[in-house]
Subunit: 629 residues, 2 copies
Amino acid sequence: MSQIISALVDVLIVGAGPAGLTAANCFNGTKLKVLVVDKKDGPEKTGRADGLKSISLEILDTFGIGDTILTDSQRCEEIVLWNPDKNGVIQRTMTIADKVDELMKPREITLDQGRIEAVMGENLQKHGNVETCWNTQPVDVELDPELEDDPDAYPITVNLHNNKTHTRRTICAKYLIGSDGGRSWLRKFFNIKFTGDLTDSTWGVLNMIPRTDFPDIRKVFVVHSTRGTIMGVPREDKLVRFYISMDGGHRNTSLDAKSITSDKIVRAAQDILAPYKLEAGKIPWWSAYCVGQRVADQFSYRNRVFLAGDAVHTHSPKAGQGMNTSIQDGYNIGWKLRYYLENSCNVSLVATYESERRPVAQALINFDKEYLEFFARTDTTHDEFLEAYLAAQKFTTGIGIRYAPSVVVQATARPEDSHAIAAGLAHGMRLPDFQMVNQSDGVPVHIYHRLTQQARFRLLFFPGDIANESTGLRFKTLGSWIAEHKKKVTGIEFITIHSSIRADVELMNLHPVFRPWDDDDGWDYWAVYADDESYHDGHGHAYERCGIDRSTGCMVLLRPDGYVSLICGLDDTNALVTFLDQLNSPSTPTQAHEGKYVVQANGSLKTGPKQVCPQILRDSCSVQTYNAL
Amino acid sequence: MSQIISALVDVLIVGAGPAGLTAANCFNGTKLKVLVVDKKDGPEKTGRADGLKSISLEILDTFGIGDTILTDSQRCEEIVLWNPDKNGVIQRTMTIADKVDELMKPREITLDQGRIEAVMGENLQKHGNVETCWNTQPVDVELDPELEDDPDAYPITVNLHNNKTHTRRTICAKYLIGSDGGRSWLRKFFNIKFTGDLTDSTWGVLNMIPRTDFPDIRKVFVVHSTRGTIMGVPREDKLVRFYISMDGGHRNTSLDAKSITSDKIVRAAQDILAPYKLEAGKIPWWSAYCVGQRVADQFSYRNRVFLAGDAVHTHSPKAGQGMNTSIQDGYNIGWKLRYYLENSCNVSLVATYESERRPVAQALINFDKEYLEFFARTDTTHDEFLEAYLAAQKFTTGIGIRYAPSVVVQATARPEDSHAIAAGLAHGMRLPDFQMVNQSDGVPVHIYHRLTQQARFRLLFFPGDIANESTGLRFKTLGSWIAEHKKKVTGIEFITIHSSIRADVELMNLHPVFRPWDDDDGWDYWAVYADDESYHDGHGHAYERCGIDRSTGCMVLLRPDGYVSLICGLDDTNALVTFLDQLNSPSTPTQAHEGKYVVQANGSLKTGPKQVCPQILRDSCSVQTYNAL
């Protein structure tokens, strides 16, 4: 390709859906140049995904937009199960609180994907440094192997086509994120296999304002009848999302999704919900599908191109995982690329995207197969159904995700080592949400509201009761060590959460490193918090939730995405330094080039190398584990 | 004036500050034509007011924007008092929780007036039916007495000047709201006296990011030293608002506010806060002033022109009342004009604006005089200061406001009558905020989030434990009565708050009038709530907060602004019907015209009648009371 380069960008993101917009939001406030392109002419108008899990909301909180989305959304508070009685008439058999103790919020909220995308897009505009171009798609990509290992180079050349103006422009990028959906052009372009199959059950889905006397229409309901299965989820603006098995639960693969109409879906719903009446009001969106359960063989290409969201995994929408897994993919690659570009750290950081996210996707597909089985069957007993449903609940929250040891997750010889220090935390797992009270102004704040996305690691100090003289002294000693070894912890943000009565502590008595001075703004009043009762919102019980002993305390190094890198004692500065040294040492990949592997495409014609996954990536892929708790 | 009429509007609002924007937001979603004009070129950039009381936030909640403003704001959780010790050195003498049990939220939040105005303005744009024109001010107003009593006429002709394009246009309006600030052009035009005086103390005020070791800089602090008084209020974005007495507390009237600079204010602050260090960082706004304490003799003109906000009351900013009183003025006139225009009800409704809001303003000025006295003096004892401060706290929440009996507040022979039914409520007082749980979906909601501003009266049913057979039967009987007498309660929205365990109640078992059917949307799932434990946010204790006996229950007719019109027993439908009949009977004023009283103005020249307040208004003014609890 010999073309005029119209722009150099650090990161080009193809696809402005939940995965792409999340990755883009990770770059808010940076000096890095980021461009998002999408072939659509704007955010989704209506329909598609709608479920946001609590842990996705935490991500949006770190962008500062969680509250906005929460305000507009519908909270899901209860799940109701219906089953046929002896005469085959459906009966409410159980009401389950949609509550998970490990979370502090409702487990799930629902809101139209388009509304969520709109808020994420507005947030990009507000910060102003990420550009978004609609009606734009790549038609050609070239990756220059000569430049691949040069951190300052722009090895990716992308030819973009505007499908409205029919003009083309060429962008050179350091990194490329492909979040271009289930039919990903980039995945196909790079010849990445999308392994899996269509299932044998056909489903209808619709958003509707129902006119009905079914009593649980505003709850999450699963009605499992002799005539099939229906699942309903309450939505904003009086809507209800329905999922209906269109083959009466008989797993009829010959049923063509294309033959299904919204009328047919409504009639199937009426059949299942009888003797309750159901009439269709407004139906702003509907669809029919055979569930495809697939996961891409690779999530990345030569550590320069990363695929995220539906581009690398598709599955049934009923567990409400699609948008959430996409958001978490986007978040994972977003902060890693930003951190690497801003800090020139160990390059193996970016390879952990694939090693962390692919096992999650694989586990999700496995889960989805089992889950869907239970949905489609009519011969399960009530107890079997309940058991499967409750097991699913635990999985779908995402709180069980545990990333394997890597350059950003400490490997411990024995898990007991960290368990003894903080029984509620684990290396590679998400920090649980908790409320704490600002030492300076008494305002209660949830930790994820405080962990604003800046691609910074945070060192959380849990020093215990610092109003106690010896505990206070130990914390001061730690402060002195930090002051002496500033270079070793440079760039890390410190957050202290003590367990004293807040009134017994004076901020100004703490070592200055814990309330850092700024020549413009003075002392930092947002660095020290108390695990204490608030005036208006109760007690957060942070130590209890994290399983930290008030008398011993600990340090927790937190990744920018809220996952735990390292747990160690307050005196164990060695462990901290060793970990950070490894992360921050710029290392150059040593493997030899595999020769020219320029990939090009025009229209449907694609050619590419057979060996697309470099050894370095393969190695890191193979050591991963995924534990769903 | 013989000019071409460029537009007919139902309501013209002059001044897009907090009062005008609040009034304008009351018209969101109507078919009425409303125009807002302001001589400024946009919302306030920075500075001016910043304190929002809990009850003002409730108003913003009814517009759907309370959460947005809360997210951006700083919560005030504590008040700290400092006083000189024996050696004249300031010492922290007391920390007071900034908490009022009657409120469910922090008593006060702070945010720049411009940010609040911007959110209110965006909300107008979102709804789209209220137009806003900047750079525009009235230069001439004419009120046609021949049309004054005709509800369909547009008796007000206003000549508007655009100070950017220098063009003019003429607007005819049914009603005119003047919210054009302390130097109100409209107040002067209508020759309305602004009674009161400048006080004899001079104050400096500034917004600053301070560099300081003063330990309470992020709390509300009042430092009362031998060198004067300083008050600080924490703000968003690291800012602190300072109020500083510039005459060292010596009440020096000869000190000219114009001679004061930001440097002088900072030096005065440094003097008072010594021995603590204070350096000025960024100062985005500052001002100096002698407090003027004035209230307008009239708040309205011939029941067609209404003045609100600073146009009719000015006072010291330190009690944080300015923006709040303005918002409450705007809310009061806003819903009344909308209700009258939409329902052609008893015209005396609009006269209650003056009869309700002027006594509030007068009480505020009286309060402010006493309050300021304590601030400016250096010879008060600590106990005296504390007493005054705590008394002020109770006043400034606004929860003590009680509007006198009128066409929208039931007169009871004996207050005990309603006290026996609902000890926590009173005719003419604000409904306390409480949380309730939606019967249909289990979502907890605060009542003011539910009371969206639609200028509708609400009938709140507190039927008690309807899962109990006889209580349930009594509630059904009430439902039957309503079904039979639909016309008598037309336009009223029903909200039921029962006290049963939520799981013991089935929505579909309630009488259909309590969950009204809509041919498009089916049953209403947002009309019945439980005073019960929620899954994630505790128990609201609504019956307890309202002092309602679970075994007897009651009905509460609520004005569109959340003030109580009528409290009566569940069987006392007579009281309800009598009240509504009076409200909804269109009555024509019977007083004779006082002759031509056309008022005109060009530039500074103004002529007007001496007798500007019609008898009807005078009468209604004279019967008011204002109780600050």
